[in-house]
């Protein structure tokens, strides 16, 4: 699954953001506004991330 950071993620300190989960690269990518592949989202971070939904090619709604 791919995720982007909500604005609230950027307010987290290093004891709560991805730095505290051993992934400084994900943290920095999220701060840059990039979509990041995350296999397992840590429980404490779900509310600060937005899942990027896949859209069908046919444009189904």
């Amino acid at each position: 699954m791919k995720y982007k950071a909500k604005a609230s993620y950027k307010e987290l300190d290093d004891t709560k953001n991805f730095n505290s989960f051993g992934s400084s690269s994900k943290h920095l990518w999220l701060l840059e506004g990039l979509e990041v592949e995350i296999k397992v989202v840590p429980d404490g971070l779900k509310e600060y991330l937005t899942e990027i939904k896949k859209t069908n090619k046919g444009g189904n709604k």
Binding site: S20, S23, S24, L34
Partner: protein, 332 residues
């Protein structure tokens, strides 16, 4: 005085990396630790210092040194610790975490790292580690020695298909400005990964992808080194000259390949192109080194009896956005 019968031996010592919470405070008894698959190690003596000497005065009768002119200098001491270990996934992950903050198995060093740059005594920081050497205090058996708030200054991975059974060996170097402590090791809780949980080592014989500039190399050996300097800030002479903080320098990622010299290797080192080259070593999902933007240094020829080999030194960079990858050492 009777002779002291205590002694220490390298074979009787486990080496443990402990995760810290606050800089200047060792890993807690209920903390998270990893027993490293260490094959060798070294560290500085506990009473480390240098001698600082004033110049002698001029004139007859004064070309000597008094005890007012010499000092034990401790305010600038940095303890050096080095550990060499088998490259298991857990060990590689942990050291990458200490070196650049990524230990989730993707272990990716990107252009904008490090993410954590403020290293101050007494402030929450999970990057520095405690290095614990069992039975290494001067009393020997039953008394341990640990170094608090060590900053990783380097990681070198070395693989040679004809040495060490092909096992990729790793050497991590650390520095701390805190005086080491002699104390027994007692963990009362927490999470502890033991050596018995680290059975799989990365091996040169398992590599299935060995490419540079998309050319297939017949690889004999490789080395990859990530290094950065660290300096202490200030000192507290009322507390064993502990530091007020650390200042971290920039990362350098370099390495070398030794492969059979052939058309593929020559194409790999062809620098008549405007963009850096990609390096990929892979043993499937369990071990991969990816460096997408590599600059070749001066390549050479090793004219060995078992065939000529190409030696290819290189330097890894990122390209474009600082979010780009310099090197990833994937273990999962």
């Amino acid at each position: 005085m009777a002779l002291d019968t205590a002694f220490q031996t390298k074979q009787n010592t486990k080496v443990i990396i402990g995760t810290e919470v606050t800089m200047g405070t060792a890993c807690l008894a209920a903390g998270t630790t990893l027993e490293m698959p260490v094959t060798d190690y070294s560290f500085d003596e506990i009473h480390k210092h240098s001698l600082s000497v004033a110049p002698p005065r001029t004139g007859s009768g004064s070309l000597t040194q008094s005890d007012d002119m010499v000092k034990w200098q401790r305010h600038d001491r940095m303890y050096d610790i080095s550990i060499t270990f088998h490259s298991t996934a857990q060990a590689i992950n942990r050291v990458c975490g200490a070196l650049y903050g990524d230990d989730d198995g993707t272990n990716t060093l990107i252009g904008s790292m490090p993410s954590v740059t403020h290293f101050k005594d007494g402030v929450t920081n999970a990057v520095p580690v405690t290095l614990w050497f069992e039975n290494s205090a001067h009393a020997g058996e039953g008394t341990d020695l640990f170094f608090t708030s060590c900053v990783c200054t380097g990681l070198t991975l070395s693989g040679d298909i004809s040495s060490n059974g092909g096992v990729v060996m790793a050497t991590a170097t650390f520095q701390t400005a805190y005086q080491p402590t002699e104390s027994a090791l007692t963990f009362t809780g927490g999470t502890h990964t033991l050596l018995s949980a680290q059975q799989t080592m990365f091996n040169m014989h398992d590599l299935t992808v060995e490419t540079l500039n998309e050319q297939d190399l017949l690889l004999y050996s490789f080395e990859l080194a990530i290094a950065r300097p660290v300096n202490r800030i200030g000192f507290d002479n009322s507390s064993n000259f502990k530091p007020m903080g650390y200042s971290l320098g920039g990362y350098e990622v370099t390495g070398s390949l030794t492969c059979k010299r052939d058309a593929e290797s020559l194409e790999a080192i062809d620098t008549d192109m405007s963009v850096p080259k990609a390096l990929a070593l892979s043993a499937g999902d369990v071990f991969q080194i990816d460096a997408p933007k590599v600059y070749i240094d001066s390549a050479g020829i090793s004219m060995d009896d078992d065939g000529w080999k190409q030696t290819i030194p290189f330097r890894c960079t990122y390209s474009g956005a600082t979010s780009s990858t310099i090197v990833a050492i994937k273990t999962a």
